[in-house]
C-alpha cells in the first residue's frame, strides 16, 4: 500500500517500538509533524531548544536501554542538535536523530534554513543518512535503529528533505537489515578468554576497572560473580558508577582525576588490570605513560578500535561484556587475595578521601550525602558537568544498578536538566534527582517549561556557588587565583522557578538541607532547591592535569590567607 514519506517514517518508528520522541518542529519537518499527530502511540514531548531534545533522548536511551529519538527541523534546528548528538557519541548512547531538510530541488542552493547537516554530523555519529527518496525510508529507519543499538551503540542521524516527506512510496518494513560492512562481534574469542583466565588465576594483586560497558550490557551479576569468585577488588570509571554496588566490600570507588586516593593507589600498584567496558579516557588514566606501571592489562570491549588506542594491552578480548564475562567466570579459579585486599583496606583507612567538614556552611558534599540518605540510594542521579558532577560521583554511594547519568566524554554543561527530564520519562516510577551547577543550569534552563508543561517530576538540586566552579578551582590551583570570568551573576532561581510554576525553596544553612530534600521528595511533581553553598569549596582528591595517578592530591592546598577579593572581570 502506498504511503507518504511522513507516514512511512511514523509506521517505521512504531515498528521499532518507539514510544517517546523529544523534539521541536519547524518548516522543513512540518509534514512529519502533521502526520505524527495521527499516531498517538508515539508520544511527542515538545522541548524548548533542540539541544534539550538530544540530551533528553540520550538520557532516555541510557536508562531504558532502548533507542532514544529526537527530532528537529532543518538549518538552525538541526544545528542546535549537534552538541547533544556529540554528547551521545562520546558516551556511546543509542540515539536516532531525525531532521527535516529543505526540499530536494533546493539542496545545495543555500535555501532558507538549509544547512549541510549530514556533513556536520558525519564525525559525531556512528552513521548518518541523507534520504533521497521516500522509497528508501523504511529500510533506512530499520538500519538506523539497528546500527544505533547494536555493537558499540551510538547516535545515528537521518536527514529527510521536505518533499520526500510528502512523496508517496510503497511501504514494506524490511524484516532484516543488509549491511555487509557492519558485523559487530558479540562473543569473545575463546583462546583469548582462556589466556585472560590464566593471567587472573596467577595474579597476586588483580584489579577490575569497570566502565559503562558493564551497564550497557547489563552485566551486573556477571561482574559481581567475577569479583566475588576470585575476590578481586573493583574500581570504577566515572560512567562505570552504579555498575557495582559501592557498599560491597570489594568496591573501592572511582578512579581518575577526582577518584579516591586509595583507588588510584590500587591502579598504580596492581599487577593485573581487568578493564571491562571502558576506554582508558584521559580523565580516568591521567597521563598514560605512568598509568599502572606494574600491571599487565586485560581489555574487554565491544569495539576493536578501542583496543590499544590509549594504553598498551596484553590480552584484548573483543565482545559483549555480558557474554565475555559469562565464559570467563567459568575459567576463573576461586581465590582470596586476602593480602592485597588488606592492603587496599589499610590504604582506604589511611586515605579516606571523602570528608565533610563540620560547621554551619552549606557544603555540596553534605547535600549529596543527604540526598543519598533521604533516598537510601534508591534514586536516579543525573548530573551536570564540573564540580557538581564530581561531588555527586564521590559522595553518592551508588548501590542501585544503572542509577547514574552523566556527561562523561564530552563534558557538556547544561546536560543535567534535559537529561533528568529524559531519564524521568524513561523511568517514571523512580525518584530522579538532577544535580545541577548554577552555570550549567542556565545553559538549558528553558527546559523548565517542558518539565512544567509535561509535569515531569524531577527534583532539581542547584549547587549554587556563584562560580563556574571547576574552572574557578583550576584558576585557584594553577592560575594563582586569578578568577577571570568565572564569577557568575545569577538570577533569583526561586523567581525563575515561580515563573515556570515549579515550587522551589532556597537553602542557606546546613540545618535546612535535610528538610528541603524531604520537601522536594514529598511533593508530587517537579521541585527545585537552590542550595547556596560555600563559594570556594574545591573538589578533592585531585590529580593535577599532566600528572600521573601517583600524584593524587588528597586535600586542598592550604589557601593563602588573603583578604583581598579575588581579581575578577565579571560582574559581582
Amino acid at each position: 500500500m502506498k504511503k507518504t514519506g511522513a507516514q512511512i517514517l511514523c509506521e517505521s518508528l512504531v515498528k521499532e517500538g518507539v514510544e517517546v520522541i523529544f523534539g521541536i518542529l519547524g518548516g522543513a519537518i512540518l509534514p512529519i509533524y502533521d502526520t505524527l499527530s495521527q499516531y498517538p502511540q508515539l508520544r511527542h514531548i515538545l522541548v524548548r531548544h533542540e539541544q534539550g531534545a538530544a540530551h533528553a533522548a540520550d538520557a532516555y536511551a541510557r536508562v531504558t536501554h532502548k533507542v532514544g529519538v529526537c527530532m528537529a527541523t532543518s538549518g538552525p534546528g538541526a544545528a542546535n542538535l549537534v552538541t547533544g548528538i556529540a554528547n551521545a557519541y562520546m558516551d556511546s548512547s543509542p540515539v536516532v536523530a531525525i531532521t527535516g531538510q529543505v526540499a530536494r530541488p533546493f539542496i545545495g542552493r543555500d535555501a532558507f534554513q538549509e544547512t549541510d547537516i549530514t556533513g556536520i554530523t558525519l564525525p559525531i555519529t556512528k552513521h548518518n543518512y541523507l534520504i533521497s527518496s521516500a522509497g528508501e525510508l523504511a529500510e533506512t529507519v530499520k538500519e538506523a535503529f539497528y546500527i544505533a543499538r547494536t555493537g558499540r551503540s551510538g547516535p545515528v542521524h537521518i536527514d529527510i528533505p521536505r518533499d520526500v516527506q510528502t512523496e508517496e512510496a510503497e511501504f514494506v518494513y524490511p524484516a532484516k537489515v543488509n549491511l555487509p560492512g557492519y558485523k559487530p562481534v558479540f562473543q569473545g574469542h575463546p583462546a583469548q578468554i582462556r589466556k585472560a583466565a590464566r593471567l587472573i588465576n596467577s595474579a597476586k594483586q588483580p584489579l577490575i576497572i569497570a566502565g559503562r560497558g558493564v551497564i550497557m550490557s547489563q552485566a551486573y551479576a556477571e561482574l559481581r560473580e567475577l569479583a566475588e569468585k576470585a575476590q578481586i577488588p573493583v574500581v570504577n570509571t566515572l560512567l562505570g558508577l552504579s555498575s557495582f554496588p559501592r557498599n560491597h566490600v570489594l568496591s573501592f570507588g572511582m578512579i581518575g582525576m577526582h577518584g579516591m586516593a586509595y583507588a588510584n593507589m590500587a591502579v598504580q600498584d596492581t599487577d593485573l588490570i581487568i578493564s571491562i567496558g571502558m576506554r582508558f579516557d584521559d580523565r580516568a588514566t591521567a597521563i598514560t605513560g605512568e598509568f599502572a606501571p606494574k600491571a599487565r592489562i586485560i581489555h574487554i570491549d565491544i569495539d576493536p578500535a578501542e583496543i590499544g588506542k590509549n594504553v598498551r594491552v596484553d590480552v584484548p578480548i573483543v565482545g559483549d561484556v555480558k557474554n565475555v564475562l559469562g565464559v570467563l567466570n567459568k575459567e576463573v579459579n576461586v581465590n582470596t587475595h586476602s593480602e592485597w585486599l588488606a592492603t587496599l583496606n589499610k590504604w582506604q583507612g589511611e586515605h579516606p578521601s571523602l570528608e565533610i567538614r563540620e560547621g554551619e556552611e552549606v557544603l555540596p558534599q553534605y547535600i549529596i550525602r543527604q540526598i543519598y540518605e533521604a533516598t537510601q540510594g534508591d534514586a536516579l542521579v543525573v548530573t551536570g558537568v564540573g564540580q557538581n558532577q564530581m561531588w555527586a560521583a564521590q559522595y553518592f554511594p551508588f548501590i542501585k544498578p544503572d542509577s547514574f547519568v552523566s556527561s562523561g566524554g564530552l563534558g557538556t554543561m547544561g546536560f543535567e536538566l534535559p537529561a533528568a527530564m529524559g531519564a524521568k520519562v524513561g523511568r517514571p516510577d523512580e525518584m530522579v534527582w538532577c544535580v545541577a551547577g548554577d552555570g550549567g543550569f542556565q545553559m538549558t534552563i528553558q527546559e523548565l517549561a517542558t518539565i512544567a508543561a509535561e509535569n515531569i517530576g524531577v527534583k532539581i538540586a542547584i549547587i549554587n556557588n556563584g562560580y563556574l566552579g571547576m574552572v574557578r578551582q583550576w584558576q585557584e590551583l594553577f592560575y594563582e587565583r586569578r578568577y577571570a570570568h568565572t564569577k557568575l551573576w545569577n538570577p533569583d532561581f526561586l523567581k525563575v522557578a515561580e515563573a515556570y510554576e515549579i515550587p522551589a525553596v532556597r537553602v542557606r544553612r546546613r540545618d535546612e538541607v535535610v528538610s528541603a530534600i524531604y520537601k522536594a521528595m514529598d511533593y508530587d511533581g517537579p521541585f527545585l532547591i537552590d542550595f547556596v553553598v560555600e563559594p570556594e569549596e574545591g573538589v578533592y582528591p585531585m590529580v593535577p592535569p599532566g600528572k600521573s595517578l601517583s600524584e593524587t592530591m588528597e586535600l586542598p592546598k592550604p589557601k593563602k590567607v588573603s583578604k583581598r577579593k579575588p581579581k575578577t572581570l565579571a560582574r559581582s
Binding site: R152, P180, G181, K183, V185, I302, A305, G308
Partner: protein, 173 residues
C-alpha cells in the same frame, strides 16, 4: 616510532559520501594520507580504495580499525607486508623541440612508457609502474622542461589468491 609508508586496500560500498567519510576519518584522527585511489571493483556495488598512509605501526593498526568501523567500509586489508603488486600511472607533458624529440622518445622506450600525444612543442608521456620507476622517468625528463604532470596515486593488489574479498569479515563497534 618511525613513520613508514603503509598500503591499505579497502572494499567500500558504492554509495554517496563514502569518500568523504574515509577522508574525514583521516583528518579527524590526524592520520597522514600520501595518496588515495578509488575505482570500481570486481563486485557490483563495491569500489576498491587504495590508500597510502605515513604512520608508525601502532598508528596504522588504529587506521585500519577505525576505517573498519565505518559502516560503508566492507573490508580493510593492510597490504604492506604482503606480496603485492603496486602501480601508479602518470601523464607527463614534456617540452620537445625537433632536436630533443628523438632523445625523449628513446628514454620513453627504455621505460616501456608511451607517447600518447604529440604537440608542436611538447610530448605527452604515459608511464605505468611502481613509484620509483615513475620518479626516475620524471627525473630524466626534467632537463627537457616539464610543463605539466598528473599522477594517480598507488593502486595495489596481492599476488596469487584474492585477499580483499568480502568474506571472513570480522568487525565490531
Amino acid at each position: 616510532m618511525e613513520a613508514t609508508k603503509y598500503t591499505i586496500s579497502m572494499l567500500v560500498e558504492d554509495k554517496a559520501g563514502v569518500l568523504n567519510r574515509v577522508a574525514s576519518l583521516f583528518r579527524r584522527r590526524g592520520f597522514n594520507i600520501q595518496s588515495l585511489a578509488v575505482g570500481g571493483s570486481e563486485q557490483l556495488g563495491l569500489s576498491r580504495m587504495t590508500v597510502v598512509v605515513l604512520a608508525d605501526p601502532a598508528q596504522v593498526e588504529q587506521v585500519r580499525k577505525q576505517l573498519d568501523k565505518l559502516i560503508n567500509v566492507v573490508k580493510v586489508v593492510d597490504l604492506t607486508n604482503d606480496d603485492m603488486v603496486a602501480r601508479e600511472l602518470a601523464l607527463i607533458k614534456v617540452a620537445a623541440t625537433s632536436s630533443t624529440r628523438s632523445e625523449i622518445m628513446q628514454i620513453v622506450d627504455i621505460f616501456r612508457a608511451n607517447i600518447v600525444d604529440v604537440g608542436s612543442d611538447s610530448l605527452m608521456v604515459e608511464v605505468t609502474g611502481d613509484e620509483e620507476k615513475v620518479n626516475s622517468l620524471f627525473e630524466l625528463l626534467r632537463r627537457f622542461g616539464i610543463k605539466e604532470v598528473v599522477r594517480t596515486g598507488r593502486v595495489a593488489l596481492t599476488r596469487g589468491a584474492v585477499a580483499t574479498r568480502t568474506d571472513n569479515k570480522k568487525k565490531g563497534g
